[in-house]
């Protein structure tokens, strides 16, 4: 995947449990092919105050507000993980193109295996503007990150756009080595008794099975729009979901909300399910089925 050799195509989704080295290590021990950190910024952020997550039918709505200890602080965690032989993808964000570059440099020097540029968090848009809604900005950020990156650069896109292919092509032009599709859909939960929004941030990001059809469609469309590999993300709960993503054009998958029910071994279970699917259907490796549904 984008120059990386992973033992299997599963990862945790950014922001899901990636706040410390021991938790990320447990995800790896749970069977993931690589682990993804919480999105890291320059300065430390405390995130939004509670309620920050509530389940809705078919999924969860969250507005954590990108809490993170700051990229510099996290360097040691990355070193610890690398010391234990865990492949690490560092997710990160910035408030400006310069910050994106600076953070990328810090993380890159810490020795991560790949960088995942988060231009798509729906929960801090008012503070920082959702860069990922604009092709020009996406291209510029990608370029800036590529300038300093020593490892592959993955750009994570938002589904909250009119034409995701346009943004994917911008990332590709900017030099992205891969694309992660997608981040959460912007949603809202209101309580009829309290007569107010449930989340402190008012809106939040919809993840889980409810997101799956939209995310799968995004992967499908991006696969037809760019040449670089795609990491599928959104509502994957079992190996069947994961295979659907691979068939639609993803080379690997990230799994987030399903860890709520499934726990840490969900990564291994899904990886094993994919393997069995390949065997039963006479395929040798994951890449043999990537995008296969487009042929039908």
């Amino acid at each position: 995947m984008a120059g990386l050799e992973l033992r299997n195509p599963t990862m945790n989704a950014a922001g899901v449990l990636g706040i410390s080295a021991p938790l990320l290590k447990r995800i790896y021990e749970g069977g993931a092919g690589a682990v993804v950190t919480k999105s890291l910024g320059g300065p430390q952020r405390m995130g939004h105050s509670n309620p920050t997550l509530v389940s809705v039918e078919g999924g969860a709505l969250n507005a954590m507000g990108l809490p993170n200890p700051g990229a510099e602080y996290f360097v040691e965690m990355i070193r610890e993980l690398k010391g234990d032989g865990v492949p690490v993808v560092a997710s990160f964000f910035g408030g400006s193109i310069e910050e994106f570059r600076d953070v990328a440099l810090v993380l890159s020097e810490a020795g991560v295996d790949a960088l995942e540029v988060n231009v798509s968090c729906p929960n801090v848009a008012e503070e920082m503007g959702m860069l990922g809604a604009d092709p020009m900005n996406t291209e510029k950020v990608t370029e800036a990150v590529k300038e300093v990156a020593k490892s592959p650069v993955i750009v994570k896109l938002s589904p909250n756009v009119t034409d995701i292919c346009e943004i994917a092509r911008a990332a590709e032009r900017g030099g992205a080595d891969a694309i992660t599709a997608v981040n959460t859909l912007k949603g809202l939960a209101v309580d009829a008794d309290l007569r107010r929004p449930i989340l402190t941030n008012v809106t939040g990001g919809l993840s889980g099975p409810a997101l799956k059809p939209v995310a799968l469609r995004c992967v499908w469309e991006i696969y037809e729009a760019v040449e670089i590999p795609i990491i599928g993300c959104g509502g994957i709960s079992n190996w069947r979901d994961a295979v659907e993503y691979l068939l639609s054009g993803a080379t690997a998958v990230e799994i987030g909300t399903a860890a709520m029910d499934g726990g840490f071994d969900i990564y291994g279970k899904i990886a094993e399910g994919i393997r069995e699917y390949l065997v039963e259907n006479g395929f040798k490796e994951v890449k043999d089925i990537v995008g296969l549904a487009h042929g039908g």
């Binding site: 021991p22 995130g47 969250n62 602080y73």
Partner: protein
């Protein structure tokens, strides 16, 4: 399609049926909720006064009739907002969450500090109902801070032992020292503890010295409560989901964090100071 509003992770809204003054300036908040009444001792709810933040609180009573309660110590904005509520007010609820205590052995010692008594009381009730005779150390800084003594005495009689830092009631000194002393006199085969982490760490040390297994209910920064965000991380564990109750084995695994450091909401390590 399933009615997600009955899922633990969805926000439910209920009215408080009663708010009672407890020791010090603590308050018990009572409400009816079927899911909570099916909870087990050691589990907690995310409780929300919509004027403030949603925070974790242990179930302090778990009635089979659907009535439950939590006991809140006002230590900051959200707990003060909760303590200021009245019967009839609406709260948001998620949960119950977490693993809860597991009743094991035949001779249990319970060590509660401060609001830690909240989660240990329903455990003691369960034990009594099962025919066990738990010893219950109730600790506080001073006499007026001793929580729920009345209901605990009526449940446990002389097996309720109190200790205060200032000696204003019962034993004078730390609950851990008192526990150590009791362990000399009687052979306990499981220790359950909930309270300030420094206290629990001290109890753990004496338990380890004597080779007695322990279950401790830990406190970390809870945001999502469903095991997704990682903010409650304790070594490889999520306090919100793998905990809040941890076994001696697990405590050994996280010995360089337990009683020593915790993450602040950003994920930076800070000192455990109480």
């Amino acid at each position: 399609m399933s009615d997600w509003r009955t899922e633990a992770e969805a926000m439910r809204v209920v009215r408080l049926t009663k708010v009672k003054e407890e020791a010090g300036d603590m308050r018990s908040l009572h409400f009816a909720d079927e899911r909570c009444s099916e909870g087990v001792p050691g589990q907690y709810v995310m409780i929300w006064n919509p004027a403030a933040e949603e925070v974790p609180m242990s179930l302090a009573s778990i009635g089979e009739d659907g009535n439950v309660s939590v006991v809140v110590r006002p230590v900051g904005e959200s707990t003060e907002a909760l303590c200021g509520m009245s019967a009839g007010d609406k709260i948001g609820l998620r949960g119950p969450f977490g693993n809860g205590y597991v009743v094991q052995g035949s001779s249990p010692l319970l060590v509660a500090g401060g609001t830690g008594a909240a989660s240990l009381r329903p455990l003691a009730e369960e034990m009594v109902a099962e025919g066990l005779k738990p010893t219950f150390i109730l600790g506080a800084r001073s006499k007026d801070q001793l929580l729920m003594t009345e209901s605990l005495v009526s449940l446990l009689g002389e097996n309720l032992l109190t200790t205060t830092d200032d000696g204003s009631h019962g034993y004078r000194g730390y609950a851990s020292t008192y526990a150590d002393q009791l362990m000399k006199e009687k052979k306990y085969d499981m220790i359950y503890t909930c309270g300030p982490e420094i206290m629990m760490a001290a109890v753990f040390q004496v338990a380890e010295e004597r080779g007695i297994p322990m279950q401790a209910s830990l406190d970390r920064y809870i945001k999502c409560a469903v095991g997704l965000c990682g903010s409650c991380g304790l070594g490889p564990y999520r306090v919100c989901k793998d905990g809040p109750v941890f076994s001696s084995e697990q405590l050994r695994e996280v010995r360089n964090e337990f009683g020593k450091s915790r993450m602040d909401p950003s994920g930076r390590a800070i000192k455990v100071d109480h």
